[in-house]
Subunit: 397 residues, 2 copies
């Protein structure tokens, strides 16, 4: 066993903050066995009662998309929902292994058929997340497949080692004590999110090359960073690495235009490059790109909320992902590379209860990067005062 | 993809008799992905609504046995039971992949701790089986691990090819149409089981080298072979390859002694060779062996029923497994090598409803081979008449 998986597993159970006596649900894909086993072992060593590793096989999904009856493709078996809801009911820990696995498994399939099969994603996951009943985390798992996708010009073994070393760095596993390093990093992000919450800005202005956007906030738009707390008081780090401070904007107030600073990778693998979007009254009214604009426009036809914003996330220059210049083809990593906005659904916890019905609702959530060290982020107070938030990639508040 | 897996998958969905619109539960272990995927594909091509492949990871089990709290080792999560019961409720098809996977995964673990963790086995499986609510089958899946266990003296690749070729033969995949070959084979076994049922023998006498045993039958002891029918009328072949005609004896009437004709492999890997057992009034009163007797005796201390018989199975010389002389270390294959008896639990469907409470009850079921072509099997009528059943390995009735 590659000892690096044990170290990474140690960070995963620290991130999820597995408690003695807890049930632990682990979601992995085939190809991620080594990390899944190391996570199970680490969770048991922390006193877990039972670790249930559920392996998803994308090649079985392929067989379904190829051969099953079209009308059956949205069927989701009750027992998968039952598992997730039972974990929530038991206030369990949940650990998901991220990254890309077997990208060839779904290659060349009919997009319309593929779009009807939501698995392994479950609608109930959003509910469990919003309930704050489980302490959870997602960590990336290096695989050879993924390495070859990210570094196609390298020899496969070199690509794998390169992926490991970049992930090792962004996961802060190269620090003397990664847990302490993450505590320090999250402390800074929290200081910034709390300062943003204290300020109660009416709007945020983003200004950089090709970007000039003013985004209205709701009176209770809540900025959040790094760590979550379950409703039973268990602190956890939901996404490692995490570099963002985020909230949900007022979906009716976005005006101006943005230009993406990194390629956007859609879930079906389509890459959108040189994306520009113009907003009016919160709505994306013009969508252009050097490449892939049509695929993105087609996706945004899903529902009314798909063309409005559900998230604004700020990333400072201490974030380690953006500097690498690597496209990981994995949203959870790539979105932490730079400040970004997301078309589609907002997270319910991004506003106070009484204002949740003002948050954007949609069946999708597409993050795309518009940030860079040059992006000037400014808070606008209700009185019209302009307060610098990020300058040269450093927090100003 | 090795095309042999597709052929084997074709036999599996034929054996389970997957119906259009059915849910299909597939149970596999990690290491059996190729066959699991081929089975999923074949099931979808037969019109399955959804194929749920559940992968079991013996290395995650190892982590549990090594590190979890002793008192938690008998915990079984509700969602695993829920899955099985939902499949039964939906009258689903079930396909399990057999054979041996990663025998090293559980090596060297504490037997007492290991014995408390029943997974992946579920108690509810017996209930679902006795309910006859699902059409199901088990087929062996060749793996490199298994091949090296069975043929330790061969080069790994040769061992793998040898395992494939022996399984190919015993699965009758070398016949022009395996489905037709199985129909013919099962027809013969059924003719024999029906003749045995018609005869209503009071007892069966087994006579061969080192074996002289008279086994009483219950008035409704029911002989069965090869195929089952669900209570909704779906015929299926539960175990491929199958070569046996079996029933449950009267647990209070077994007298004489037997000598095993093949090594017995216990679930924890212990091998019992040269086993002899003496029965008095249905009870095993003396257990000896050239090797492994103590491990077997320890197991039989589990409960009162463990030392009485739950099954008598007859295998004729047309069975293909015994002739190979191979020990597969897999009960479902090895038990089809020769006539055998089983200490422990009887299957509920082996007697009429009104006599089920006379069947043997136990927490274990251990088959061991006492048959050979030389074994003389004779039926004793209530009137004391002696009717030949098997002579020289051929059916006489």
């Amino acid at each position: 066993m590659d000892e690096r998986f044990e170290t990474l597993a140690g960070l995963a159970v620290h991130g999820a903050n597995v408690q003695p006596g807890q049930l632990v649900g682990v979601s992995a894909s085939l190809g991620q066995e080594e990390l899944a086993r190391a996570v199970a072992s680490a969770a048991y060593r922390r006193g877990a009662k039972f670790v249930d590793v559920l392996y998803f096989d994308p090649f079985v999904k392929r067989a379904r998309i190829e051969h099953a009856d079209l009308d059956s493709l949205d069927y989701v078996p009750d027992w998968l929902k039952a598992r997730l809801l039972a974990l929530a009911e038991a206030s369990a820990a949940r650990i998901s292994l991220g990254g890309v696995v077997s990208p060839e498994a779904l290659e060349g399939l009919d997009g319309a058929r593929l779009g009807r099969d939501q698995l392994p994603w479950l609608k109930e996951a959003m509910q469990v997340l919003n309930d704050r009943s489980t302490n959870w985390t997602i960590v990336p798992c290096p695989t050879h497949d993924w390495a070859e996708l990210v570094f196609p010009d390298l020899d496969p073994e070199e690509a794998y080692e390169r992926l490991w070393s970049e992930l090792w760095h962004v996961l802060r596993l190269d620090e003397p004590d990664p847990a302490v390093a993450w505590d320090a990093r999250i402390e800074l992000l929290k200081t910034s999110s709390e300062a943003l919450n204290d300020r109660r800005f009416d709007a945020i202005e983003l200004k950089g090359e090709g970007t000039e956007l003013t985004l209205g906030l709701l009176p209770t738009s809540h900025w959040q960073a790094g760590d979550f707390v379950t409703r039973f008081g268990v602190r956890h780090l939901p996404n490692l690495p995490t570099e963002e401070v985020f909230t949900a904007p007022d979906p009716l107030r976005a005006d101006g235009h943005v230009t993406s600073t990194k390629p956007l990778v859609l879930k079906d693998g389509t890459i959108v490059r040189g994306l520009t979007v113009r907003f009016e009254g919160g709505k994306a009214v013009e969508i252009d790109a050097d490449e892939g604009a049509e695929a993105l426009r087609a996706k945004l036809e899903l529902d009314e909320g798909a063309t409005r914003l559900g998230e604004l996330a700020l990333v400072d220059r201490q974030g380690r992902i953006g500097k690498l210049g690597t496209v990981f083809y994995d949203t959870l990593l790539d979105e932490n590379a730079a400040s970004h906005i997301a078309l589609g659904a907002a997270y319910a916890f991004s506003a106070a209860e009484e204002e949740r019905d003002r948050l954007n609702v949609s069946g999708l959530h597409i993050d795309f990067m518009i940030g860079s060290d040059e992006l000037e982020v400014t808070g606008l107070t209700p009185e019209g005062e302009r307060i610098p938030v990020l300058r040269g990639g450093d927090w100003q508040i």
